[in-house]
Symmetry: C2
Subunit: 230 residues, 2 copies
């Protein structure tokens, strides 16, 4: 079994867990708090970021998309219709664009800030960035939630899955991101019917199960978080 | 000829130009100022980011690494020893890790801030983020330059090229990033001998030539910027 250094409230880590789960491969999870900058962890990844996968031969593979490309090259390419990547280069580009959208843009506009202010600051020492939540940062992030839900709703309404006719890495990335916002109770699902239907299909996939049982100390999830009917 | 929407002071755009240049393929360049959020450009890429490549059939391919994966799939895979990607999945992961290091981490720690404060703010309207340079932001970015040069120096001293025995996307990404800092005169090359030797090899590659003639209005490059002997 391969090992993943992760944190339950990082979208990029959830993305990797869903992807391996789709291929039925379990990961040994080690919770890493990157803000602590542990020496042993920095020797695995000098950038200090998560996720990091310890792959075959204990090679450290660093970063969500680097890991998902590795997964595709070593497993996905042999999965036929269950492959999370398309064959066609233009379709592959569309999948990668959306992975980037959710793991970089949604994260930078919304997710990372709400997670930091609402969930992580109480766990951090002062010198690591801890302290009381910055309400201006929370307001700014909340103002951006709508744009990302509207975009997801549009994708879900016009395509079978977010990047096209087949389930792909794009769905894994979007669900990774939105599941964190949902944990925090930041999504008004009734305003986004198509996105809600899509997310309901995501939630019932076996690869999603372990995410729905994630719990973070000191912060309970929204009451509907683990309900398949929400 | 394909078209690239780019800006000369964005590392991710320079990276794409070097990569196509390595395969001897010219690009039609359109300078885009992403802070202006042009409507026509947003319809190509709703994220509003550069680079965007108009590929075959005018499909918009968005984002530096999405473009370089597309380039590898449509050109690189047929280039044999000139290919900018390795064959082995672990080596591919190392190349991608370093591309990410330079285009995301170096960019976020250093390059983006110095470019914004020193070069772009005078071109921006007030509502777009223009105004006088923030000297605290410049100081913070400068404090991080050393770490990135030291790391590059270590890579260059211990490997033939930055990701291993062969020239790769990692070298293109590092050179894209450092060439911008060099334009701004922010690098003390004499402290980093191995990195300097490596950069000197980069500068003499034909793919680098167009970057050395880039000029930005109102900000001349450091005097040695275009010298092959610096």
């Amino acid at each position: 079994m391969l090992t993943l250094f992760h944190h339950p409230l990082y979208a990029s880590c959830r993305y990797v867990r869903i992807a391996f789960g789709e291929y039925g491969e379990e990961l040994a999870l080690i919770e890493e708090r990157p803000w602590q900058r542990r020496k042993e962890f920095l020797s695995l990844n000098p950038a200090g970021t998560i996720p990091v996968l310890l792959a075959e031969g204990d090679h450290a593979i660093t970063g969500a998309t680097v890991i998902s490309e590795y997964l595709d090259e070593t497993r996905g390419a042999f999965q036929r219709s269950r492959r999370l990547m398309a064959e066609d280069p233009i379709q592959r580009a569309e999948i990668r664009r959306l992975v980037d959208w959710y793991l970089v843009k949604t994260d930078g506009d919304v997710t990372r800030h709400l997670v930091r202010e609402r969930a992580l600051k109480p766990l951090m020492a002062g010198a690591q960035g801890g302290g009381s939540p910055d309400s201006a940062a929370i307001r700014a992030a909340r103002a951006n939630v709508r744009q990302h839900l509207k975009y997801t709703n549009w994708l879900a309404a016009t395509r079978d899955w977010l990047a096209g006719p087949r389930f792909s890495y794009a769905d894994a990335a979007a669900a990774a991101s939105l599941s964190i916002l949902d944990y925090l109770g930041e999504i008004e699902w009734r305003e986004y019917e198509a996105a809600r239907d899509w997310y309901s299909r995501m939630k019932s996939r076996p690869s999603f199960r372990s995410l729905l049982s994630d719990r973070v100390r000191g912060l309970s999830p929204a009451s509907h978080y683990a309900d398949l009917d929400f």
